[in-house]
């Protein structure tokens, strides 16, 4: 494990019963009483948020207000004002931003923070989390629950443990042991259907899931099977992304329907390469990187096949993606039954950033320099002014 990963400290922070807590700041008489924020019974309103006192009666969010009132006759309903919550949320996030610039807001009351590099300012993650929680309480009178660990996934589960108004710190290296006894449903992404399927195979706890053979899980759950196994061990490398690293676009794609259906491999490769280069050029011009690429092939009988691939690090480098695209296309066409009507390529998992070559990737760095030159030539003289590889086989009409 790299020292960067070993020293990484990710916090998951969650404001306890946020809407209700804000209402209690505005009207302290609501403290210690069962309170819900939501619409009126007569308007068929639902519960938007419930205090912990109300939850003890079985009241929870999204429940019809009428049902909530029946479960807890002393329930106090507050209509709530959205603008107030937005202002309170902004005040909390402004404060969190003074601890680290790497804050990823997940919702109005939930965020991830990466504390890398802040040790000299605020001490270890546990100290910083403690201080943060106290400051939010003292300055804004709101309760914060915090999960601390080396990654987002474990911190998210840990904060669930600490609720309400607590802090749970998972020791580095103990992630698999922390997860092992927990029911599979605590893992984000495992819903009732997957849970039931896992139960069919007597997999109820994360420890069992983590030690189940990867090939078996892949067989039952497809690609998700292996990632589920890694996550069951508490492994997660998803970075915390501050707003400026997030792309407003979710994906970028190109597809082409041929004027005549074809089975000419060189034409198919050429077309795919051309679309891939156009997408990568667009990524570069927008300062974006992609994590995942999908290729799509539609046959003359309208059957469609897609294949996905993910690079270990996000990229906008034509050649890195082309190596993958080329092998994916080969795999799809191996099963070809008929002529091809359409090919397409799609890039997803977009994030802001610039491609950076590794220390021993001199050739890739040189290639990347050439790509920048080609981008400028195409911008000046047109997209078809520079052709590469299999694109040479394409006629102007293709």
């Amino acid at each position: 494990m790299s020292s960067e990963k070993a020293s990484r400290s990710v916090l998951h922070v969650d404001l306890d019963a946020f809407f209700v807590s804000v209402e209690r700041v505005l009207d302290p008489r609501l403290c210690g009483r069962p309170v819900v924020v939501g619409g009126p019974v007569e308007g068929r309103g639902v519960v938007a948020a419930a205090s912990y006192e109300a939850r003890q009666f079985g009241v929870h969010s999204a429940m019809p207000m009428g049902q909530a009132m029946r479960l807890c006759p002393d329930l106090i309903r507050v209509s709530g004002t959205r603008g107030v919550y937005a202002r309170a949320s902004k005040a909390v996030f402004d404060l969190l931003g003074s601890y680290t610039p790497i804050v990823e807001k997940v919702s109005v009351d939930e965020a991830y923070l990466d504390l890398r590099g802040t040790e000299h300012l605020f001490g270890r993650a546990l100290d910083a989390a403690d201080h943060m929680r106290k400051e939010v309480k003292e300055r804004l009178r709101l309760d914060l629950t915090v999960g601390v660990s080396r990654n987002r996934l474990v911190s998210k589960v840990a904060s669930g443990f600490a609720k309400p108004h607590g802090l749970f710190d998972v020791r580095p290296g103990q992630e698999p042991r922390f997860f092992a006894p927990l029911p599979v449903k605590v893992l984000p992404g495992i819903g009732p259907v997957t849970q039931k399927r896992l139960r069919d195979f007597h997999i109820d706890q994360l420890g069992t899931l983590a030690t189940t053979d990867g090939w078996f899980l892949e067989d039952v759950f497809g690609r998700y099977g292996r990632s589920m196994r890694r996550r069951a061990k508490g492994e997660d490398e998803t970075p915390v992304r501050p707003p400026w690293e997030k792309s407003t676009r979710k994906s970028l794609s190109q597809e082409r329907t041929f004027a005549e259906d074809t089975d000419d491999l060189q034409v198919l490769r050429g077309r795919l390469q051309r679309m891939l280069e156009k997408c990568c050029s667009e990524l570069r011009s927008k300062g974006l990187l992609a994590r995942t690429m999908s290729i799509k092939v539609r046959y003359a009988d309208f059957t469609t096949e897609t294949r996905d691939a993910t690079l270990p690090r996000p990229s906008d480098h034509d050649l890195e993606w082309w190596e993958l695209a080329s092998s994916l296309l080969e795999r799809v066409l191996k099963k070809r039954r008929t002529l091809v009507r359409l090919v397409g390529v799609r890039f997803s998992g977009l994030e802001r950033g610039f491609w950076q070559g590794g220390l021993f990737e001199e050739e890739r760095v040189v290639q990347r320099g050439r790509l920048a030159v080609m981008d400028r030539m195409r911008e000046k003289y047109g997209e078809k002014s520079v052709r590469t590889g299999d694109r040479l086989w394409l006629r102007n009409s293709q």
């Binding site: 209690r24 302290p28 008489r29 609501l30 403290c31 210690g32 009483r33 270890r124 546990l126 100290d127 403690d130 929680r133 309480k137 009178r141 309760d143 840990a158 669930g160 443990f161 600490a162 609720k163 309400p164 108004h165 607590g166 802090l167 749970f168 710190d169 998972v170 020791r171 290296g173 103990q174 042991r177 922390f178 092992a180 006894p181 927990l182 029911p183 605590v186 706890q205």
Partner: protein
């Protein structure tokens, strides 16, 4: 001292397994890099291999002898937070490995009606 406690809520799921349990720290600990605090609750897993760097609970088989120690590179135990490491003359054994720590805070009473 360390005292075994039952947890409810989500944390209780952790102790639903026979190999896991919670210990609460009673009394003020000495300050050191483990940043222990009175009231801290440790999540412990027993019956697992111990590795250098692990924080462990050792005991002599009697609850009141439970203490926290860090496993050194040479696999000797160094007491933390004012706890002593196991003395040579005692036949101490590892009760479990600390996987996490829960710190809960009292809600602000001044706000309560």
């Amino acid at each position: 001292m360390l005292e075994e406690v039952e947890m409810d809520g989500k944390a209780g799921q952790f102790s639903g397994n026979k190999n896991t349990f919670f210990l609460a720290l009673r009394g003020a600990p000495a300050e050191d890099e483990e940043q222990l605090r009175e009231g801290d609750v440790f999540a412990i897993t027993e019956g697992v291999d111990v590795e250098a760097g692990d924080l462990v609970v050792w005991w002599t088989g009697v609850e009141r002898t439970m203490a926290l120690a860090r496993v050194q590179d040479d696999f000797s135990f160094k007491g933390v937070g004012g706890f002593l490491g196991p003395p040579e003359r005692l036949s101490a054994e590892v009760r479990g490995v600390v996987v996490g720590r829960l710190r809960q805070f009292e809600p602000d009473k001044s706000q309560e009606a």
